[in-house]
Symmetry: C2
Subunit: 418 residues, 2 copies
């Protein structure tokens, strides 16, 4: 992509009510636009990051046999009344509206009830089980406070998966597979080391549920972690007893701020009973399906990655989610000869399938470097008159600041990865 | 994909209130699930079709320099008040709700106002123009009647593009490019011949707007078309005068039912004036941006394609949007030898990158063939004991019913396309 063509500009000013570092940097760099608190448009660069995060999660979900679909935003009141969750006293984040026919409808803050209900069409016998589905979908939650940028949205993209099993044993097998898929996903996004499977309040169905918490100063949660043993306990359920159960002692647990990037719920057979999702057992018994749900906050993850890796100069993307792999910065490109030469390098990168952002704008070098730092693409490559004369390119690694000098041929072999 | 693993089942029964052929077939075949009238979940097969339609449109929009983004569903009241379109008397398809803070919010039935407003951050000088953006986004419209299945949704996916230009001349150039991109898209989806650039009511800004209407018995519009001259006029504006302007005579126009699959609006400078989107001209004058908007109904297109091509046996997909290219139907696979052999063919297709749906279920051949017809994948390949012995595969073209017999090697060369 030629930066001169990219419609987004880096901005000096952000909306005065924006407090969160992640949103401030993402707005300034032109990744997102603030529509209102907790509601952000994804601009071209932002969409690329979100699609990369989605693709990582998609690959890991597909690998464990989960099938992708997309549910609707509009939901029926009756489904949620049946489980006692239509009331605003029970679920306090509903957005609701009214059809022209007069019927009330809800907007998706969760898809548990509609998707469990839908499965009545496709699950009738033990032979139809297990079923695993997932989606990337817009969730709408009427949050009273939405001050954490992309980390707590009124509108946000979530990956939610649902498992439908015959037995606790089958459920546990998928549950474990999904836990591993999540850990692989977080590892690929560069936060593997700092992300913990965390014991948390299990709600109505089980004593504990599992959250995936990433150590992050901007996080809204508090956890007690043990880095060595890779164990974490949410403050909500932290106790001597919980520690004992997990084989740690309270004194070796460190209290840290964390962001919840994923969670797993085990509903047992309760949810299916409430919704009326039964199947015929081999012996003819009508039995409720064993259900679980599995979430990853996709746009929240984008916010967490900014918070964790940004420095005073701007965003620092992990390579796996960066909108581009290299940022080619052309200097002295008002000289037609230089311009043609840098254009050629840009084209050569593209031909080799390297995702490259090409700063072909007529601006001062200082401004281009500042923009490159703000945007946070992993490798900045300068191509100037001097580069052309000397035949070696300065390559700066955004995260470490390490500088390499490479020949044109080395550039391609290094970044084309072939 | 192994059909035994696909969680969706073909269904005999559809919701009793479903009247539209497209929805009935898509529900029966397991492409979609009806949540409520005009609101359908996209199941795995349906999502694949939608993604194929999106990809065709994406490629054509990218090719004319349009940049992809995604706007939010939640919208601010103030933006629409400014243009006089917040009122339910003016726009009668609003879904609205209330934030916890008490402020009213709207759900996206259109993105014209929010995206024009957003551009104030990125357009300030004539040097920033032109800008072309697009998105695939969920639109929510509170339709009183939603009886046409995927062809008129309360919730549906639309591709909407917006152009921001300096002059009418620049605007017209993009407008023409977009018109061509649309025609290429419809051509690629198999409805090129039956899709007309149609003169229609231009609303407040211009005498005529352009609609893209596809001849379709289930369509909700009426147009007068001339197949030879490839000219169409919406009934709304059909008159002797309109005919004269387009160089046809009323007598040579045929009245047909059509479905509106796309539209183009020219706002001139009015929209930007209303929203307050101005730029500095070279001479310093503050000037309103020239705007256009360009829509294609993505999920509607899915409905139209079903309506147009389905026969009494089921759906017939154009190859470009079919969820899979070939449907491999294994027979006598309860014989382990046969099963292993058909599995091998499935694997060979996959290795060659052919999108293949593999019916590996233990069912009667008749039921498998009926399902294959219902699902509508372009090529059905039978692999049975007889096939193995004779070394030739029966390949049936779903649309024409033509039968070919191919050797295993020919199968791969024919369908791998390499």
């Amino acid at each position: 992509m030629r930066q001169s063509q990219l419609f987004t500009k880096t901005l000096k000013e952000v909306p005065s009510d924006e407090e969160a570092k992640n949103a401030i940097l993402l707005i300034r760099a032109g990744y997102i636009h603030k529509e209102m608190a907790g509601v952000y448009q994804l601009l071209p660069l932002g969409l690329r990051v979100v699609e990369k995060i989605k693709q990582i999660v998609r690959e890991e979900m597909n690998a464990i046999g989960t099938q992708e679909m997309i549910a609707t935003n509009l939901q029926r009141k009756e489904l949620w009344e049946r489980t006692g969750r239509w009331s605003d006293q029970v679920v306090d984040v509903w957005f609701k509206s009214t059809l022209k026919t007069g019927a009330e409808v809800g907007f998706a803050w969760s898809h548990e009830e509609p998707l469990a209900d839908m499965m009545k069409n496709h699950i009738s016998s033990y032979k139809d089980l297990p079923v695993y589905i997932y989606q990337f979908q817009n969730k709408l939650r009427n949050e009273l406070r939405a001050k954490s940028g992309m980390m707590r949205g009124r509108e946000f993209i979530m990956k939610d998966a649902y498992s439908f099993c015959r037995s606790e044993e089958d459920h546990t097998a998928y549950y474990e597979a999904c836990k591993e898929a999540y850990l692989r996903s977080f590892e690929r996004m560069g936060v593997g080391e700092d992300t913990y499977v965390t014991f948390a309040d299990g709600g109505a169905f089980t004593q504990y549920s599992h959250e995936f918490q990433t150590v992050c100063d901007a996080g809204e949660d508090l956890c007690y972690i043990n880095r060595e043993k890779k164990i974490a306990i949410n403050e909500e359920v932290f106790s001597a007893e919980a520690c004992k159960e997990l084989g740690v002692i309270p004194e070796e647990m460190e209290k840290v701020k964390t962001a919840e990037v994923g969670n797993i719920f085990n509903f047992g057979r309760q949810k299916a009973e409430d919704v009326g999702l039964f199947y015929d057992e081999e012996n003819g018994d009508k039995t409720a399906v064993w259900m679980g749900s599995y979430g990853i906050g996709i746009t929240r993850m984008m916010g967490v990655l900014v918070e964790k890796f940004a420095d005073e100069k701007g965003i620092v993307w992990p390579e796996s989610v960066s909108p581009y792999k290299v940022h080619l910065v052309g200097l002295q490109t008002d000289d037609a000869q230089i311009r043609d030469w840098v254009d050629g390098i840009y084209t050569a990168f593209q031909r080799r399938g390297v995702e490259v952002l090409y700063d072909d704008r007529y601006l001062r070098p200082g401004q281009k470097f500042a923009d490159a730092d703000l945007l946070g693409v992993p490798y900045r490559i300068v191509a100037s008159k001097k580069t052309k004369e000397e035949g070696r390119f300065e390559v700066v690694h955004r995260a470490s600041g390490d500088v390499q000098y490479l020949s044109e041929e080395e550039l391609y072999t290094t970044f084309a990865g072939t």
